[in-house]
Amino acid sequence: MKSVSELAGEVRSGGTGRTYAIVAALVVLAVIYPEIVESLQDLPLIGDFIPRTDSMVVMIVFTMMAVGLNVVVGYAGLLDLGYVAFYAAGAYTAGWLASGHFEQVSFEFLSTAPAGAPGIHISMWLVLIIAGVFTTIVGILIGLPTLRLRGDYLAIVTLGFGEIVPQFVRNGDSIGGFDLTNGTFGISPIDSMGVGDFVFRTESNRAELYYWTAVGLLLFTVFCCVRLQNSRLGRAWIAIREDETAAAAMGVPLMRTKTWSYAIGAFFGGVAGAFYASFKSGAFPADFFFNISVFLLCMVILGGIGSLWGVILGGMILGYLNIEGLATIGSKIQEGGLDFDPTKYQFGIYGIIIVTMMLFRPTGLIPERRHRIEMEEGVHDTPMYDVTHEGTLTDRDRGND
């Protein structure tokens, strides 16, 4: 129980009892949601705007990715514009290890697929972990050569990776003659989650089962983040974010600390990607494009950079708008006789959110304490100052702040 009280303490709103109550209430609310959703949808006025359980799963998946991205962007202050690469890595891990894609072999381990089915079928529960680990490795591989770059350069490099990965996946149907990704057609179907004969996908309450799994994964993610925030590593991230040079001088190992943030952020992206691939039963190259990265970034900014609870709020809001909200609002507008389709301008709307937030409330809906201080007082050093190239391009802006 000690961890829960720490968790509660982290919310920082005075008495731990009260925050404990809030968190518990939210968790209970989240868990019983599928049971009350139908009653909610019958409510007058707001009933049409209540997301279905099915949509909630997708919202949670994207929120989980946003929380992962928040580890990189919020905690360590490294702008990552290619987070979609981790999502792709996770989804394709699920495709490789839990589908009939590698038809030349037949391997089955605790999965829901029938025995003897062609392809590799490992239990999706294990695949989630494997996907997380694999994506972590991808994150480290991307991070090692690039993390010594300055902030905006790093952003561009990650953007480059975010652009390359989808094309690689698309062209990956003959890597030296080997069909790695099934190219344009993607990998489908991907195994369902489940245990033995209890297969989520064929159960009548499939959406609920996936939903509770998603809630569990999100809680796990949140738990990890809460623990990380106050850990040695978490404090090292803040130090680097605020003043990299000073942090290095105080003995914080820059590369290792940054790489950890990348690896951990990637881990959650991978798990979420694999889970989502199983939920929708497929991984396609067309799913992974730059806008997804921006969409996730927008969630982080809306909620509050570095603020765990904020990012969850931002993620749920934007996830809702993406999957149902804008379409529902649009249909209301069209019922009202106006020919305007907000889904068409989805990214324009996100753009407006980003700009408005940055200009008027850069700390987000639920600001994180330290970030607010940083925004108000500025940071001593440009974040992510390039120490390996000391005295290079950025020297000029030292002391500007």
């Binding site: 005075g14 009653s39 038809e103 929708k280 039963s281 799913d287 529902t328």
Partner: protein, 450 residues
Amino acid sequence: MSLTLKSRGVYLIGLLVAALALVAAGCGGDDGGEAPEALPSSSCTAIEYEGDGNPDYIVASDLPLQGASRTQTLQMNEAIRKVLTDREFKAGDYNIGFQACDDATAQAGKWDSGKCSQNANAYAANDKVIGVIGTFNSGCAAIMIPVLNQAPDGGIAMMSPANTYPCLTVNLPGGCDATEPDKYYPTGERNYARVAPADDYQGAAVAQYMKELGVTKLYVLNDKEAYGLGVATTTRKAAEHLGIEIAGFEAWDPKAASYESLFRKIEGTGADAVFLGGLIDENGAQVIKDKVAVLGPNDGDVKLFAPDGFTTQQTIDDAGPASAGMYMSVAGVPVDEFSGVAKEFADSFEADYLNGARIDPYAIYAAQGAQIVLDAIENSDGTRTDVIAKMFETEVTDGLLGSFSFNENGDPQDASGAVVGFTIYIATDKLETSKALSPDPEVVKAAGAA
């Protein structure tokens, strides 16, 4: 300041929880009622029903209603509505409501795999959904078929008016993965049929026409999308079978600015024809312009062929004079050569639903698909299983697409008329019929195989 903010937050959350708990306690489970529960409004239109009483069942259409295909898919839905209206929303004894669902997101501008999965599960979960007309894109069908296949009560009948990926229904040796198509049907029972001829037919038709025009060396381009790559592959195989040399097979990047260097390379190979497997919306007009700029006009030394992704007036409008002389194919008989029931349908459809605009070839396929689904429901005992069975037993005689029945895979067989025919158009300032032909079964087989 911050303290007050926080306490306010606490009270708000507390209030919210209390309210929700009240709601949950207050109004639990009110089912019953006559009208079936509608599919979610975020994807689908409200139930459209104009008959007496309440609908017994729902038929849904699943098409990408946003982005590039929108003009076609809107017409397809209108065609389905016309079929339903003509039948007064009845299939025999059953009242049928209709919902048009969208599997595209604006974000992607085309079908989205998440949306396809979401829709499919919504159909499966709603026990009033008895038939699905769709999908438009084969990739979306690959996700949807297994979900509908495993739907409660024996699966949901799915009828596609537009899917052309061959491996959805049949394993072409070498052309499909070994696990296809079985992986799409986890229960082992089939629930999917289509009225659109698969890519291997189109590839064969195009290649046969190339041969006829004396093409000896062909360069095949594709847009790296499921549709474009599929039709490019079958065309290549059919052409090889007919003894046409393949000079190259490559993708064009729809996001690139120009394709001139690509055509320079093609020029170097000495190809006398180029095939564009893809869609006009994937920067196709620029591809056509650059082809003409480098390799000369399409009625010159190097001919230009394209599949039905290009067969629209938009191609001519966008590419301008560069499109002149290019050949474009489409399944079915030419729109201006419709006869019998198809002509009647097209005429009244154009007058009543399109304000006189031209019917899109796909609208006829959608209408035929709707008729088959409604007939199957009419002949069934009202269970999902029986609707599937009756769909497979369908025999269409002189229907909108000619005469045909389904084989055990769900593909049209014993067909005559539009369902196996192809029209090759040539571009002038509009699409002019160049030739109507039915591909040779031998060539079709070669187009699908390795």
